[in-house]
């Protein structure tokens, strides 16, 4: 099993998740045979990141050295355990500092969960039914959230499927990219030739 196939949303509410899916689809729409965020499960990727600590070990770093797609063991699906400091860093990044002194050694940190909750709320309760032009206008009205979402859409579209996105490798396939290639790699002819 490579990709996470459990229930989603893991962390967002159903309403938030619906808005997130719609927002991701504006970022990376399906178009004339091209897969978009919906086909790739990009919203799943983001929701799983926000809920990474509901898993044990937390779904932060996929394992290695091989995914099994090109041979070798399917080890990406076994996520790394975090050290004490790793967990501190990723809880700060995802959950924010929440007034916890251990997390505020350089001041308060707003986590991804809060940034997404606020950003999705600002898109409006009616974000899903409005037309694409209006969705894009609302997204552009919040450049900071737009940038955050865009970065995660890129990861969910073109990252390893074990993180929850790039379903069936549709992102890689459409652009002609093999993805992870160990333990095979590329031949010298493939490297040096056109």
């Amino acid at each position: 099993m490579a990709r996470y196939v459990g229930p989603v949303p893991v962390w967002l509410s159903e309403g938030e998740f619906a808005s997130l899916r719609a927002a991701c689809s504006e970022m990376m729409p399906s178009d004339q045979g091209a897969p978009g965020a919906e086909e790739a499960g990009v919203a799943d990727y983001i929701d799983i990141l926000l809920g990474a600590f509901t898993f044990n070990p937390p779904r932060i770093w996929a394992g290695g050295p091989t995914s099994g797609r090109m041979g070798g063991e399917a080890r990406f699906a076994t996520f790394h355990r975090l050290s004490r400091l790793d967990e501190l860093a990723w809880r700060m990044r995802i959950e924010g500092s929440q007034g916890i002194p251990e997390r505020e050694f350089n001041g308060p940190v707003i986590g991804l969960q809060e940034r997404y909750r606020r950003g999705l709320a600002a898109l409006g309760d009616d974000f899903v039914p409005v037309d694409g032009k209006e969705r894009r206008r609302r997204l552009r009205a919040d450049p900071e959230f737009c940038e955050l979402l865009h970065g995660h859409c890129c990861e969910g579209m073109y990252g390893a499927p074990e993180y929850g996105g790039n379903r069936n490798m549709v992102g890689w396939d459409y652009i002609g990219f093999k993805g992870d290639v160990q333990p095979v790699g590329y031949s010298d002819v493939e490297v040096s030739g056109p």
Partner: protein
């Protein structure tokens, strides 16, 4: 029991010192503040299986560390900007067992003879402390030869007409050239330049029990999944196989205790967060040119040159677009060809220097390379209905080729590493603050050589080219930021014979401390225009042999 030496840092410098000393019968403890993803936790004499072809893990999620949330750095261009203008990642080299060796794409050129005598050969530059090194290339050459065999370097003797002399061939032949490099090298040769196969610490054949590189393309900024790269895995597994070394990962040294002219112990915080003390007979500091001065400053060492003369290599980046080509830069070892011409004085360079009002200027090693993986490309592509087609066309990855010149930074005393007055790491210690900006020399060299490199891309057939730099100087260019992207960090504890103007002596020993050695690129007097790894490794081997009373093999 107190070990013969405590080595702080397990990167190329620390692991080299550990290998030489344990081979000579010494006992060592290696303290590394990062996690161990390099060696099998059940048998530290074997490689681990944690590295992978995973762009999210290595690029987006800081797998090799440092995580900028818990180990940030502060940055400013000059003291006039106040305490700092940026907090986060600054020149971050991996914080992990193996250090910077794990993420490098393995280009390991030697310096040339003149690089050790810049003042004698070229003379001074205003505002910079351009000095000669207290050793020559000839003194270092046997150590270059030893470490090339220890880590495994692929290259071709005679390929570079400007190279320094060698006492023997490379241990391995070069690997397969990347398609883009074949084209860019041909174009460079047409314009009178001299590209050659980059000396690369990636196995072109099975070597020393490790396999040949299979060209997976996840090289720069990634750990090697099959351990074909000459990162410190070979050095550390041999060190630990002697039974005379202990590796303490997730162990942060917060202070070297000093009494008079001796280090007596180190204070360290282990993975459990508890502070302990270990007695020391000898301390070897190998944290890199940012973390090493930070630790020495945290330990109370005072010297007017400590933390000064930070050099990072001012990078000139020229990019060409090729509408009719697919260059597939994701296949191969990131960079397979380089050229040294920008390091060599010619009439054009002399004229450019004169025009800029400088006595001379030098560029740096020029790397022929492609750019990026899909997430990186997607971040620079538009979102919306044109996104998918843009990614399929891949104008920002598959149809681009680039030259990156690792421009020689001069040693300016105003470019520094000190302790941030207000920013702390997660353990509560002041983080390093970097104060850095390029000088007139770097800007003039970049302007001059950038034009030449653009001409090569045009000769190669580019339909458009662009010239930018890191750090960005206009702040309007591609990715322009005042924070340098270079991972080459150099200087800050320079070596010399004069204790008044240098921090360490010609063997890396801190002048004022009889049992503290620095074994990383902090000790460089000048930066040359070459990646520092092989030279710092050779210096670490030389220092360790000197301690042990042994000779290079």
């Amino acid at each position: 029991m107190t070990p013969d030496a405590i080595i702080i840092g397990s990167g190329p410098g620390g692991s080299t010192a550990a290998e030489v000393l344990t081979r000579a019968g010494w006992s060592v403890v290696i303290m590394e503040k990062g996690r161990n993803h390099l060696l099998d936790p059940d048998d530290l004499t074997k490689p681990a299986r944690d590295f992978s072809n995973d762009e999210i893990k290595f690029i987006s999620r800081h797998f090799l560390g440092p995580d900028p949330l818990i180990e940030p750095r502060a940055f400013r261009r000059s003291t006039e900007e106040g305490e700092h203008t940026h907090v986060g990642e600054v020149n971050s080299i991996p914080t992990t067992v193996g250090g910077g060796g794990t993420h490098a794409d393995g280009k390991v050129p030697r310096f040339r003879e003149e690089d050790f005598g810049l003042h004698s050969v070229y003379g001074p530059q205003d505002g910079a402390h351009v000095d000669d090194w207290p050793l020559t290339y000839a003194e270092l050459e046997p150590y270059y030869a030893e470490v090339e065999h220890a880590i495994g370097v692929a290259g071709r003797e005679g390929a570079n007409p400007f190279a320094a002399w060698r006492s023997g061939p490379y241990p391995m032949p070069p690997g397969a050239p990347m398609y883009g490099s074949v084209l860019s090298s041909a174009a460079a040769e047409k314009l009178g330049l001299h590209p050659y196969e980059a000396p690369t610490a990636a196995n072109s054949i099975a070597y020393d029990g490790r396999p040949a590189c299979n060209n997976c393309g996840y090289c720069a900024f990634f750990g090697c999944p099959i351990h074909a790269k000459g990162d410190p895995v070979a050095l550390l597994t041999k060190t630990l196989a002697t039974g005379r070394a202990e590796l303490m990962a997730e162990t942060f040294v917060s202070r070297i205790r000093i009494e008079g002219s001796r280090a007596t112990a180190v204070d360290y915080i282990g993975p459990d967060g508890v502070t302990r003390t270990m007695g020391a007979q000898l301390v070897i500091v190998a944290g890199g040119a940012i973390e090493t001065p930070r630790l020495l400053l945290l330990s109370g060492l005072e010297h007017p040159a400590l933390g000064r003369h930070l050099m990072v290599h001012f990078q000139t980046i020229t990019v060409g677009h090729f509408a009719e080509l697919r260059l597939h830069p994701h296949k191969g070892r990131a960079v397979t060809h380089v050229h040294d011409d920008a390091m060599v004085q010619d009439d054009r360079a002399r004229a450019a220097a004169a025009e800029a009002g400088l006595p001379w200027l030098r560029g740096g090693l020029v790397e022929h390379s492609g750019s990026g993986l899909p997430i990186m490309e997607a971040r620079h592509s538009p979102w919306g209905r044109h996104h998918a087609q843009a990614m399929r066309d891949s104008n920002l990855r598959d149809r681009m080729w680039a030259f990156i010149m690792q421009g020689e930074d001069l040693p300016y005393p105003s470019n520094t590493v000190d302790l941030s007055p207000s920013i702390r790491d997660a353990r509560g210690f002041p983080v390093a603050r970097i104060t850095y900006q390029p000088g007139r020399h770097e800007l003039a060299a970049s302007k001059h050589h950038g034009k030449i490199l653009q001409a090569v891309l045009e000769e190669m057939g580019a339909d458009w080219t662009v010239h930018t730099s890191s750090p960005g100087v206009s702040y309007h260019g591609i990715g322009a930021t005042p924070v340098p992207e270079s991972r080459h960090v150099i200087g800050t504890a320079r070596m010399g014979d004069d204790p008044a103007s240098s921090v360490v002596d010609r063997w890396g020993r801190v002048h004022s401390l009889e049992n503290v050695i620095v074994a990383d690129s902090s000790v460089f007097v000048t930066s040359a225009g070459y990646g520092p790894t092989l030279t710092l490794v050779a210096l670490a081997a030389r220092a360790a042999h000197h301690l042990a009373g042994t000779l290079p093999s």
